[in-house]
């Protein structure tokens, strides 16, 4: 094993000799520094290899034959090696980042400081001697103080000064603690102290230990004694902030980890509490930040707080971990891994720390590369939209930091929550989940603000009626954007500019690779590799994007792989899974077709889409709760990125993310509770709520309209007709849990109210996509209601609705997407009379609305029939009444939809529009054929559904030819169809006979107009505020109560963040006061606790 002294020596030597190299040549000096960085990154790898494969044991190295503290004593074990690999890798890329950057230059002095800082941190990690620790701490700190001033701004000096004051107090505490420890134990060696049975006993000993722990904790920036830390993050150069967060903080955390065996239960408990508080409050604080780096800084502080808490809880968690590892809920790979990583909770810490280190450093660099200073977004010319690579990278890093699969934090989050819940730490679990939610909220808010389009205000959650004369200003902005001198922003768009992305790219790759390896480890041993297909698809299409494969080709490929996937997967499914499999896979394949129509390049789109479809597919065959949760989160994150592609979708996307993630966390909590043996009501409530969020049930729906509507027009259909069923499917899967009567009836009420609210809100929308979005919400409400009936007819109807809703909503969205594509507007009242221009689309929408509104003879009636029959059978009369009202209201908005778009007056600007492109028509044809078939022969869908629910409910309904007979009534779709045809054709024949001659087709203005003539189609077309009497009569129901409630919830967090912020007055003396107070309270509690 190579001695760690070389590490120290090389760093020290390079730092000292640097001026000489510098004199010989700047590039030489830089190369030497790079070489050193590579060396220190590679060396720990070799240690790890030695320690694992070559089976060596950890070694303690001494310098110069002396004992520490007179000399240096360094230990190389698995822990040290792993942390050094991560730290030094980050340092390497940090160095590369600083080097590749054009301005500010990476000066020689800075390189020296960089090396000494690394020296300090490496020493911190390796040393086993308390006084060495102090020395290394001071080396790294002093280097950091100096590095902070790298930007030479007064802010940097200020931050440096504050940092020094705080650091000085901490080191004073540290020194006193160390010297007392020495006094009590007679040694400074950690191993000896630990071997002697932990720290010294007694109050004095405890105090000494406390002083040591407090010093380390203060260096870790606990709440509220951390204002100086945030200031430093904010003022430093992004490259330095990254190092501060990734290298220094991780190193100091490792110190804390090292001394935990020494500290004893009381101090550890206090440290855990402090860590938890820091985590929660930092997230609140970060949410209110305007400065990107300060926000990231608070996030770092929070993450380190979480790490502290986990490390401090290690004694408590270790048994749970081994229990979990021993049980079936953890895969064998990780069990083996945990052994080889040193056992205990150490793997968890590595996952958390590594994930944080790489993603946070990457994000700091991204903020430097894109010039993003303000969380409110980037200047228009620098928007990340212009650089898909940069946008993708930032998305990846953000997703990793937020803990989405497959990144390490996801697995860590899973393990952590599982362990915490199994040890009964419900409160801490809740705090962690809540904090993670807030973290995802502000991180993605920043991401969205970076990638959003200039016209996106960022707060679009509901329709916006455009001003009549807004177009002029827009033009001006556009022309500004086209000015060539403004074209080159901070973001590299092409060519060599991409090289600046190298460092974050490497971090992204490391994270992705680690995540994939982890996924393989977790799903090893099972044929669960299919679960990783979404990732494979994502990788494949990213590759295709990077070699610039034309988009159309990608779409065809996407359809092909989806179809192949379906062919592989579906034959193996039965029952309800098969029904949803068809919806998820076949429905998606058909609805990808309109994408062919797109022009240009759309990097990432197909990848995300196929990944989304595959992760939906995953839901069909998962077996363990981890597999399920993995797929669920993957579905959330891919669909989020799809939403965020919309033109004005950033606000909606954020809401979508926060709600989805909140739901997912509830599901996680529920899963953890159930796996720890609690199958009570709370589990059902949590999981049910999680699924209801995804379905957009009333009260949890406020994310829905925006994200369905603001998504690209040809993608909306996925969300509405496919994705919304995922929650329903999971409800079916967990029906056993929810089957208790009281839950079912609550679900039923939620369902029927959702149905009504969706229909009612859709009624007043001018924006067609919002109409359809709310309509989808209402339809899902019916599905939920039917599901909640927990009867044969109810479930059949729920499935029937799911299938038919896919057909008609899919084709309507496709038709509407075609219309929007042609007319370039989403406002219904700006359309009109399009029937003459787009007859096929009209026919599709006509069939769609007849089917959707449940008018016989089309499929929709079957759903109504089953619904009301089942409701009356069950005795849910009031629900039935509301459902009928809702379906009447649905009829209103559907009529409005078809009328205002296709009938009435054709506008001048639409006089020349053509029928939608063929690719938009394909899903429409499929839908029409499906609807006609099912309408004519309802048994071909109803009978399989009856079979599907047969394992759950025995038969209440009978068949007599085509007639389906329930206990209450009967319905023969076939005869109804014939009778309808008959009564339709006979009058038509009569009319054609009588009105054959001299019937003149007239123009659009040939109307009786009180003996006047119309002058403009716009003023003649009745479309705006179509149901004004309804608004007058029932408009009070439109109060956005749910939105207000969630605003209120959100504002609690914001107000909390805003008021906590006031602690950080910026005055260094206040900061010192907080440190003193922190220490004193810590001590008081500790003494009181003993």
């Amino acid at each position: 094993m190579v001695s760690p002294m070389y590490l120290i020596a090389v760093l020290l030597g390079a730092a000292f000799l640097h001026p000489l190299f510098e004199r010989a040549g700047r590039s030489l000096a830089k190369s030497v520094v790079l070489l050193v960085l590579v060396f220190i990154a590679v060396l720990p790898v070799s240690w790890l290899a030695d320690l694992t494969w070559r089976g060596m044991v950890p070694v303690v190295f001494q310098t110069a034959g002396f004992q520490a503290p007179v000399s240096i004593s360094l230990r190389v074990g698995v822990e040290e090696a792993v942390f050094l690999i991560m730290i030094n890798a980050a340092a390497l890329f940090g160095g590369i980042y600083l080097m590749l950057r054009k301005s500010p230059k990476w000066e020689g002095k800075v390189q020296v400081l960089f090396l000494t800082m690394l020296l300090g941190v490496n020493g911190l990690v390796l040393t086993r001697d308390l006084f060495n620790m102090f020395v290394f701490l001071e080396i790294s700190s002093i280097s950091l103080y100096a590095l902070l001033a790298f930007t030479r701004s007064s802010d940097a000096y200020e931050a440096g000064f504050k940092y020094m004051v705080a650091g000085g107090i901490a080191s004073a505490l540290f020194l006193i603690g160390v010297i007392y420890l020495y006094r009590f134990t007679g040694t400074l060696n950690l191993d000896v102290m630990i071997a002697a049975g932990g720290g010294p006993g007694g109050k004095a000993g405890l105090t000494a230990l406390f002083l040591l722990a407090a010093a380390v904790l203060i260096e870790l920036k606990p709440f509220p004694a951390n204002g100086w830390g945030a200031d430093a993050y904010q003022a430093a150069d992004p490259g330095i902030s990254a190092m501060l967060s990734a290298v220094s903080a991780t190193g100091i955390f490792f110190v804390f980890y090292k001394i935990t065996p020494l500290l004893g239960a009381e101090i550890l408990r206090m440290a855990a509490i402090s860590g938890g508080i820091t985590f929660a409050f930092s997230q609140l604080l970060a949410m209110k930040q305007v400065s990107v780096r300060r926000m990231l800084g608070y996030s770092s502080i929070g993450q380190i707080g979480l790490l502290t808490a986990v490390a401090a809880l290690a004694p408590m968690l270790t048994p749970a971990f081994s229990q979990a590892a021993g049980g079936s809920s953890l895969p064998g790979g990780l069990v083996a891994g945990s052994g080889f990583l040193g056992g205990g909770v150490f793997p968890l810490l590595v996952l958390l720390a590594g994930n944080h280190l790489f993603s946070k450093a990457g994000l700091f660099w991204m903020s430097g590369i894109t010039g993003s200073v303000d969380t409110g977004g980037l200047p228009e010319r620098a928007s990340l939209r212009r650089s898909p690579a940069a946008a993708g990278l930032q998305g990846l890093l953000t997703a990793a930091l937020a803990g989405f699969p497959p990144f390490p934090a996801f697995w860590a989050k899973w393990l952590l929550i599982m362990m915490l819940v199994s040890t009964g730490s419900y409160f801490l679990s809740a705090v962690i989940l809540l904090g993670s939610l807030i973290e995802a909220w502000y991180l993605f808010r920043w991401f969205l603000n970076c990638v959003k389009k200039p016209q996106d205000s960022g707060n679009v959650h509901d329709e916006e009626i455009p001003d009549d004369f807004a177009a002029m200003e827009m033009d001006q902005e556009m022309s500004q954007e086209l000015r060539p001198d403004l074209k080159s922003g901070g973001v590299p768009v092409s060519g060599w500019g991409f090289i600046t992305l190298f460092a974050p790219l490497m971090h992204g790759l490391i994270l992705a690779a680690a995540g994939t390896v982890l996924a393989f480890m977790f799903f090893a041993g099972t044929p669960g590799f299919a679960l990783l297909l979404p990732l494979a698809a994502l990788a494949l299409f990213t590759l295709l994007d990077s070699v610039r494969v034309p988009f159309k080709l990608q779409v065809f490929l996407g359809i092909a792989v989806t179809a192949a996937y379906g062919l592989m997967l579906l034959p193996g499914l039965v029952g309800i899974r098969l029904v949803f499999g068809l919806i998820f896979i076949a429905g998606s394949a058909v609805q990808m077709v309109p994408l062919v129509n797109r022009k240009g390049r759309h990097p990432g789109l197909m990848g995300m889409l196929t990944a989304l479809v595959f992760s939906l597919g995953n839901l069909l065959f998962f077996r363990t709760s981890l597999e399920f949760f993995f797929s669920w989160e993957l579905m959330t994150v891919t669909s989020f990125f799809l939403v965020s592609r919309g033109n004005k979708a950033s606000g909606a996307a954020l809401r979508y993310l926060v709600f989805s993630l909140g739901g997912a966390f509830m599901i996680l909590a529920g899963l953890a509770l159930s796996s720890s043996g609690m199958n009570g009501g709370i589990t059902a409530v949590l999981m049910g709520l999680g699924f209801l969020v995804k379905m957009g049930a009333l009260g949890l729906h406020i994310w829905l309209p925006g994200s369905y509507a603001e998504t690209d027009d040809d993608l909306s259909t996925f969300f509405s007709s496919v994705l919304s069923k995922a929650g329903l499917f999971m409800l079916f899967m967990t029906a056993g849990l929810l089957a208790q009567a009281s839950f079912a009836s609550v679900l039923g009420w939620i369902g029927v109210l959702t149905a009504f609210a969706g229909a009612f809100l859709a009624l007043f929308k001018e924006d067609i996509k919002y109409t359809l979005a709310y309509s989808s919400m209402g339809q899902v409400g019916y599905m939920l209601l039917s599901f909640a009936l927990m009867s044969q007819l109810g479930w059949m109807n729920s499935l029937y609705l799911a299938v038919t809703h896919l057909l008609f909503k899919g084709m309507m969205f496709a038709a509407i997407a075609g219309v929007i594509y042609r007319t370039k507007t989403r406002m219904m009242y700006q359309m009109g009379g399009l029937i003459s221009r787009m007859p096929i689309s009209f026919f599709t929408v006509l069939i769609g609305i007849i089917a959707l509104s449940g008018v016989p003879p089309l499929v929709g009636f079957g759903a109504k029939w089953m619904l009301y029959t089942a409701l009356i059978e069950k005795g849910w009369y009031l629900q039935a009444g509301i459902a009928m009202f809702a379906s009447g209201v649905a009829f209103l908005y559907l009529f409005r939809l078809i009328h205002v778009i296709f009938l009435g007056q054709l506008k001048d600007e639409h006089r020349e529009v053509k029928e939608a492109p063929l690719w938009f028509l394909v899903p429409q044809f499929v839908g029409i054929i499906g609807i006609m078939l099912f309408s004519m022969f309802p048994d071909i869908i109803l009978k399989p559904l009856q079979t599907a629910v047969a394992p759950f409910f025995s038969g209440d309904i009978f068949w007599e030819g085509y007639t389906v007979i329930s206990t209450l009534g009967y319905w023969n779709g076939n005869v109804v169809m014939y009778v309808t045809m008959g009564v339709f054709l006979v009058p038509l024949a009569w009319l054609l006979t009588v009105q054959r001659r001299h019937t003149q087709k007239v123009g659009q203005f040939n109307i009786v107009y009180a003996a006047e003539r119309p002058y403009r189609p716009e003023t003649t077309h009745f479309g705006y505020n179509f149901f004004s009497p309804y608004r007058k009569a029932l408009g009070f129901l439109l109060q956005p109560a749910a939105a207000r409630f969630w605003y209120w919830v959100g504002s609690i967090a914001e107000v909390a963040g805003a008021s906590i912020r006031k602690l950080y007055s910026g005055n260094v003396q206040t900061y010192s006061l907080w440190i003193v107070l922190y220490v004193s309270i810590f001590l008081l509690l500790l003494q009181g606790g003993v």
Binding site: D908, Q1000, G1003, Q1004, F1005, N1006, V1008, A1011, R1013
Partner: protein, 223 residues
Amino acid sequence: MSDMQDMEKTESEEQIARIAAEMRLANDGLSDQDKAYFCDARPQAVEPYRGIMEKFANWARSQSLWILGFGTGCGAIELRPLMTSRFDMYRYGIQPRPTPRQSSVFVIGGYASVKTVKRIVRSYEQMQGPKFVLGLGSCTVNGGMYWDSYNTINRIDYYIPVDVYITGCMPRPEALLAGFNRLKQMIREGRCEGMNTYAENFDWYKANQKQIIKDWNMPDYNW
């Protein structure tokens, strides 16, 4: 060269002929943009049924007279009493109708100014044939007391065909009822072919109308 021109000429002549055959109206009063909004078909006379069928149809038409509710002048006030219980025109199958599409009788309620004539023509053309016109009051006959006004027409029958005149200034409701009965009688006798008269003499009527209606911002025939 000249051959070519001739060919072109004949082609364009053919085109003109074709357009004429299709009975397209020029609609010169409209801007190019407005032309697209309106139908430009020419009204055509419709051959009545033959024999008993037309008699039966005429009987039905005479028994169901729907008045266009458009009071064009002061005389329209005399229509109101007809609906009251004292006169009760419903007895005779006569009832008001708010839209010209569904009406069959147009009662010109007294004097018609140039401005009103424009609306009268428009509404008349929007009625579906067979349609009948009742001129109410002396003004419709020869201008009545406004005979020398710069703005009041003298003879309504120069602009639309009139079936029955009811003179008086004003005629009483009783006179109106008499007029309606006369109209019914004429319909039954098959003498009310104003719709065909209008179509056959369309150019003459149009010329008369255009002579006084100077801002002709409507199609030549308001379908």
